[in-house]
């Protein structure tokens, strides 16, 4: 009986397992293998490919590559700045939406726009908003008497470019987070809020000691998924800066962009292996961060 059930379970799972094997496990394993090919030429030998052996030189090549370190730096800044800020902002907006029902209808449209719109198209719209002379952001700064910033123009500083990229990244991630948090908040028993009122808790205390802890499983989920998302940053850069990847070539390079750069040069000897090696490194970084987050938050997540 037990065995039969097991078999049945495997049969039910089979389609998913097959799909995952073909599209997830195989590519990962394959990337590992390709990353240690020596002098890989994928198109040679009538498309069968040639290699001259196995090596870890590909990783060394990457570590010696200055562009890779620029990519790592940019990616980490995007991840470590945008994720906490966007989580905090979306929590804050979710609470506001809950407390001011009139805002709800209005905001539902606004915060859903990024969710349903193509990232690159939105990025191009943002690029215009960051324009030094005609852009919305500088216009707003102007109201406060702040000089126009060269966000993404050809001579923009790294800080300004990163600022623009972060603003865009945070904004485009808000929709999904707000959606998750508002629906999570709807599941929190209203009695806790009544009890907190009776217990004379201030609004901030309620947020900090009731809402956030009760949402903590969702906050963990969101922080892991958006950390993974941020480590894969690419679309946003292309949208904002074009394929030049920055106001100056490659100034906003990210790890995924680095991978693409070598993938698109696949005809050159060894390029696919460099790309694979970089992808593997990104994979390891992602896994490590997810594990750290999981362990650190296990102590703080309730239930």
């Amino acid at each position: 009986m037990e065995k039969k059930n097991n078999l049945r379970a495997w049969i039910y799972l089979a389609p998913l397992l097959i799909l995952m094997t073909v599209f997830t496990f195989y590519p990962i394993v394959n990337a590992f293998i390709i990353s240690i090919y020596k002098d890989y030429q994928p198109l040679a030998n009538n498309g069968a490919g040639i290699i001259t052996g196995y090596t870890l030189q590909n990783f060394l090549f990457i570590f010696k590559n200055q562009l890779f370190w620029i990519s790592v730096k940019n990616t980490f800044v995007i991840a470590f700045v945008s994720v906490p800020i966007s989580i905090f902002l979306s929590l804050f907006i979710s609470v506001a939406l809950k407390n001011i029902p009139k805002l709800k209808g209005f905001f539902q449209t606004i915060y859903f726009l990024p969710y349903v719109t193509n990232a690159i198209a939105v990025g191009m719209a943002f690029a215009f908003m960051f324009h030094q002379n005609y852009g919305l952001f500088n216009a707003i700064l102007g109201w406060f008497g702040i000089d126009a910033i060269n966000w993404i123009g050809g001579t923009a500083s790294w800080t300004a470019q990163m600022g623009a990229l972060l603003i865009y990244t945070i904004w485009s991630g808000l929709a999904f987070k707000i959606l998750v948090f508002t629906s999570g908040m709807q599941n929190i028993d209203k009695q806790y809020y009544d009890a907190a009122k009776i217990d004379s808790a201030s609004k901030w205390t309620v947020f900090k000691r009731i809402t956030v802890p009760l949402l903590s499983p969702l906050i963990l989920y969101i922080s892991i998924t958006s950390m993974i998302g941020a480590l894969k940053a690419y679309n946003s850069v292309v949208g904002l800066f074009g394929i030049q990847m920055g106001a100056q070539p490659y100034s906003m390079m990210t790890i995924v962009a680095f991978v693409y750069r070598y993938v698109s040069g696949y005809t050159d000897v060894g390029y696919i292996s460099y790309a694979s090696a970089a992808a593997i490194i990104l994979f390891i970084i992602t896994v490590v961060f997810s594990l750290i987050q999981g362990v650190v938050s296990r102590k703080r997540v309730h239930y």
């Binding site: 806790y192 009776i198 217990d199 004379s200 808790a201 802890p213 903590s216 309730h302």
Partner: protein, 359 residues
């Protein structure tokens, strides 16, 4: 702290625009230091009344005073009340200690004192061993005591309890009921205890308030309300088994049920509704009373014998059921089929007009 309500009204408007007067023009004074049982059937507005006192709901009309202070417009966090919710609403992510400390921290009580008070209150409710547990690691009764501790620790002016025993099993219910009474006596905090269980209310309260459809029906000491109900609703609501209700009439200063005389009155001739509690009957051993029935069933428990009498429609003018019950002393040794002559004990004959008000 005395609680005074003046013309308090709360109207809920449902989606189809129908209005529910959950609390309807309530005038009520809850004396300082007393434990009051707020009693009534489901949906009569008990919780709503409690939440109005707490400030969690906003009244449509009327005023609320705590002592001399009017608190009608005071937000709940400033009213200085303790509230125990029906399902406790303990913060699930906090330990018992943190749950109890929470109101003190919000009131910016100095840390050392807050810890001191937490320990003291935990002792009062018998939780000192469990301070580091999470609510879900506690039994229902223990959770309930945490909720009481959390409500009491800030030394509220008023303690409000919303059906706090409804989730407990029968034994724990009885035990916790005594506990609440003891804690209330020790702390002397004015307490309102909501329940729809009349026995619970009668046993725990200094005074009970009976409510129906948002309107206060009667207030008084439990025994007094039981003995002298102001209307048929109160008479029926209190007491188990329920009061027996008959169609009757007054003729020449005599009270008649189905033509049989059950007592005397000074009231003028009229149709009346007669209420007699099961324990209001006495057996007329001389068999002189005309108020007689054939007994259909006999149940004896301990010293009491319950006689169950089936009445054919019309006969005896029984009003709401086809049977009525009389509880008499086991001494009488009555068997099914016996014809028993009843007298009504003095003060046990309740006469209501046809609209249900006491005469």
């Amino acid at each position: 702290m005395e609680i005074k309500m003046q013309g308090l009204t709360k109207i809920f408007t449902s989606k189809n625009k129908k209005e529910v007067r959950a609390v309807d023009n309530v005038d009520l004074v809850i004396p300082s230091g007393k434990l009051i049982g707020l009693l009534g059937p489901s949906g009569c507005g008990k919780s709503t009344t409690l939440y109005l006192i707490a400030g969690l709901l906003r009244q449509n009309d009327g005023k609320i005073f705590f002592g001399e202070d009017e608190v009608t417009e005071t937000p709940p966090e400033k009213r200085g009340i303790g509230l125990v919710f029906q399902n406790y609403a303990l913060y699930p992510h906090m330990t018992v200690r943190e749950n109890i400390l929470f109101p003190l921290q919000n009131l910016k009580i100095e840390k050392q004192e807050a810890i001191q008070r937490t320990v003291e209150i935990a002792e009062l409710v018998g939780l000192q061993e469990m301070l580091d547990r999470k609510p879900k690691e506690l039994s229902g009764g223990q959770q309930q005591r945490v909720a009481i501790a959390r409500a009491l620790v800030k030394k509220p002016r008023v303690l409000l309890l919303d059906e706090p025993l409804s989730n407990l099993d029968a034994r724990l219910r009885l035990q916790t009921r005594e506990e609440i009474k003891r804690i209330q006596r020790e702390t002397k905090i004015t307490t309102v205890f909501v329940t729809h269980d009349q026995e619970e209310a009668m046993s725990i309260s200094d005074e009970i308030v009976v409510m129906k459809d948002g309107v206060i029906q009667q207030m008084g000491e439990p025994q007094q309300v039981y003995d002298a109900p102001l209307n048929l609703f109160v008479a029926r609501f209190l007491g188990n088994p329920q009061i027996n209700v008959f169609d009757g009439e007054i003729k020449n200063k005599e009270v008649l049920i189905g033509g049989m005389k059950v007592g005397n009155t000074i009231l003028p001739d009229q149709q009346v509704t007669v209420g007699i509690r099961p324990e209001g009957f006495a057996v007329d051993t001389e068999k002189k009373s005309p108020f007689k029935f054939e007994i259909d069933m006999v149940e004896t428990i301990g010293r009491d014998t319950t006689l169950i009498i089936e009445v054919e429609s019309g006969e005896g003018g029984i009003l709401d059921k086809k049977t009525f019950k009389a509880i008499v002393d086991v001494e009488h040794r009555i068997n099914p089929g016996d014809m028993v002559h009843f007298k009504v004990k003095p003060g046990k004959l309740h006469l209501f007009d046809l609209s249900g008000s006491i005469l």
